[in-house]
Amino acid sequence: MSSPLPWLTALVALPALVVAASFLRVSVERLRGFALSAAAVMLLGSLAVAIDPAMRTVVLRSSMLGAVPGGEALIRIDALSSALLPFAAGLWLLTASVTPRASLDRGGLRRTALATMLTLLSFLTESAIALLVLWVASVWTFLSAIADPVHVRQRRVVAAYMGISTLLFAIGVALIVWPMAHGTPVEVAGMWLIVVAALIRKGIFPFHAWVPEVFDHGRLGPAILFSAPQLGAYVTVILIVPRASPEVLRLIAILALGTAVYGAALALVQNSARRACGYLFVSQSALIMAGLDGTSVSAMAGGLLLWVSAGIAFAGLARCVLVLEARRGRLDLSINHGGYERMPVLAISFLAMGLACTGFPGTLGFAGQELLVDGAVDAFPVLGFAVVIASALTGLAVLRMYFALFCGRRDVLADTGINLGLTRREAWTFALVVIALVGFGLAPRPIVDSRFTASEEILRQRELRTSIAGEAENAEISHPAIAEAQRRPN
């Protein structure tokens, strides 16, 4: 591949093409077929980006954004983003493939493609201003997805939480990119605002209450697509980790560790499958955040690995719930629904993906969980064990969900000849997700290595920033020089 730029453009163009096609007069099934093909091509293309080191040379700077400290490369691919691109593509493929027909109409396909494009673009940039624009657009897309009269309360909840977080993010970005603010308390205040915005977006205690509410009573599909890519984690890595003091990062990690246990404990006692999914997301999201505290390479690599593994596994798990709901209506976990015989593939996939979320041995999550717990205990000798407790509770919650959803009285419809089982497409998609999670779990070295490389890069950049800022303070270097020096070396 001589120049990676056309390749990247093609990747971004794929969801854009689906968005454009959604305005044409094609049937929804055809459009879905096109979206599936585009997602599959995007996944393969982004895997090529992840595998080929030559692709990671892309850096595109904007003269307008490059002049300010918050405006680094507008488009770039590095070790961090190389694994996030296939992750975003995988989420799109999963969504387009297994979302029930009734939930994915023309508008749904359009929003899904748009959300994927925004996610992809977010993972390609490290510019604070570009991230802000994409952040606003993704919130807007999510609000559009729940713009029906049935979901008034959930829309208001999302608007309140995401509105506040977006405002804080916008002010924070304005403060950190303001040239006069560099090195002053104003920049620190801006960074704090971004921290709070990221915590809200990621659903970290005490800003997490929107997640279970939206998962339970809102539309689950768009909620998964909005949450699973973890844009809040990306903002943390790109904007907070390189700038924040160790104390700020420690505070984030402590909040995240507490939230991981909190979410897992509540997931265990829910009677609504959707709400349990919401709390599982809160717990998983917090575990990822706990790894990003920037104190150790191992914890950060664990967090980055969990981001991908738990992200895919969680999205698959929640999609399983959606698929079941399409056949049975709302799912109550206080009774056993049965139906294993009718949908063994879904049952096995649900359990495997749930276990992958908890870091079960043999799945990709295991390596991430081990690295994370190791790093967390290094940083917090007592509190670090929260990861272990969260993992234990999550495992229990997943098994309880599995028993309630698939075990119980033999399904009376199992032998009637009425086909309420999975479609072939759904079955293959779930099976492939499980195979990927287990396959990478048995041979995790390539992805673990890439996460370590990403982790080292992030921490190197943090050290560079800290040392340059220290030197600048001593030598009273003028601001543009600092800005230039702070740019990532290529």
């Binding site: 713009a147 209450a209 096995i348 234990a392």
Partner: protein, 452 residues
Amino acid sequence: MASLEVLMLVGIGTPAGLLLVLALTSLLNRPLLEQWTGRLAAVAMTVSCAAIGSALVLYGTAASGTVLVSYGYWSTAHEGGIAIEFLLDGMSLAFATLTAAIAGIVAAFSNRYLHREPGYNRYFVLFAMFVTGMLLVALAGNVEVLFAGWELVGLSSALLVAFFHERPAPVANALRVFSVYRISDAAMLSAAVLLHHVAGSGSLSLLFGNAETSAIAGLSTANATAIALLLVVAAAGKSALLPFSGWLPRAMEGPTPSSAVYYGSLSIHAGCFLLLRAGPLLEQTTPVRVLVGAIGLATALFSTLVTRVQSDVKSSLAYASLTQVGIIVFEIALGLYTIAFLHLAGHACFRLLQFLSAPNVLHDLHGLESAAGERIGPMAARVELMIPERLRRQLYLVALERGFLDALLDRAIVEPFHRVTGLMGRLDAFLCDFVLQRAPSLLVEVADDRDE
């Protein structure tokens, strides 16, 4: 020692391969025919048993010391990553051989016992997972591999308890069993992490190889005690020692072959094996060693009482197993490692036979009574009569209620947990409402503008 390594790999690889094949075909909704599953299981278990047995013979004849087989790190970028290591010594190979032999016997038994059972294929998937997990536990060279095996054993156990999942009781009991296993798993993972953290290594040969030269020799008393306590909790959860014994009768809901292999012979002894491995650590921490001894003795006394009043043969056998497990743990606390290991191996084989013949117990008893020409009563009736009547009644009540252990755990853990999570749930609802009420009205208007 290359041949030893190959034999070990074949020994672990065959059940792992069986697991992959059966799980993959189930996942793709193309389960193998019963006869093919049975044949594959028979071949895999035979090959595994032969390979590991040969490895034991080879190891014995070569008279070599401990062999550590390392397959490198899961990451090349970071040396402190998770290593895949196996430890081959007399104890590990003997336990692995015992595991493989028992697994082979149970596989053959299950093949007939579960003939035409709807969950036949599922049973063998879980059975292969169990055997893989047990072999990993037996041959683990570091705590990570040990933990991986430990988790596989736990999950397969819970899912086999819920094997007859159309009935509510097995499912509820499986969740209960799994919840105790999660406590055990969490303790094991915590011990592993703490070992890495304070000893700088997770290698079992380095940690527990030799009391004087091992890495744990340099540990502070507090750290050594903490690690030892965590390992004791892990072992107690897995082996149903007090105060976790309540899950054992619940686990009897599974099919008889799985009860035999888990709660009669292998899984129930996994905790004992862990304590045997951690013997040098226990020697360093006298208070924990005393605690282990007390737990072992108390478990043995408790179980021998409870087993006498059980009304079904499987529960009675399970508590009888637990009596012996308690004694084995007591032997470990006394430092009688060789005796403990021999006791473990002998008991595993004996109890396996009892469990597998349990479905025929009435038939056998009738045969015995016909031959004897009189009714055969309980053997220990005379011993019980030696206890004063008042105390006997109280003990009878305690035994009938299985020591009130479930109620105690419910009160100590489950009820407070529900109270706390109830409060947390209310807090979440309050936070959501609070933000909704206090959010700038502009935001709510924006939301309402989206109304189609």
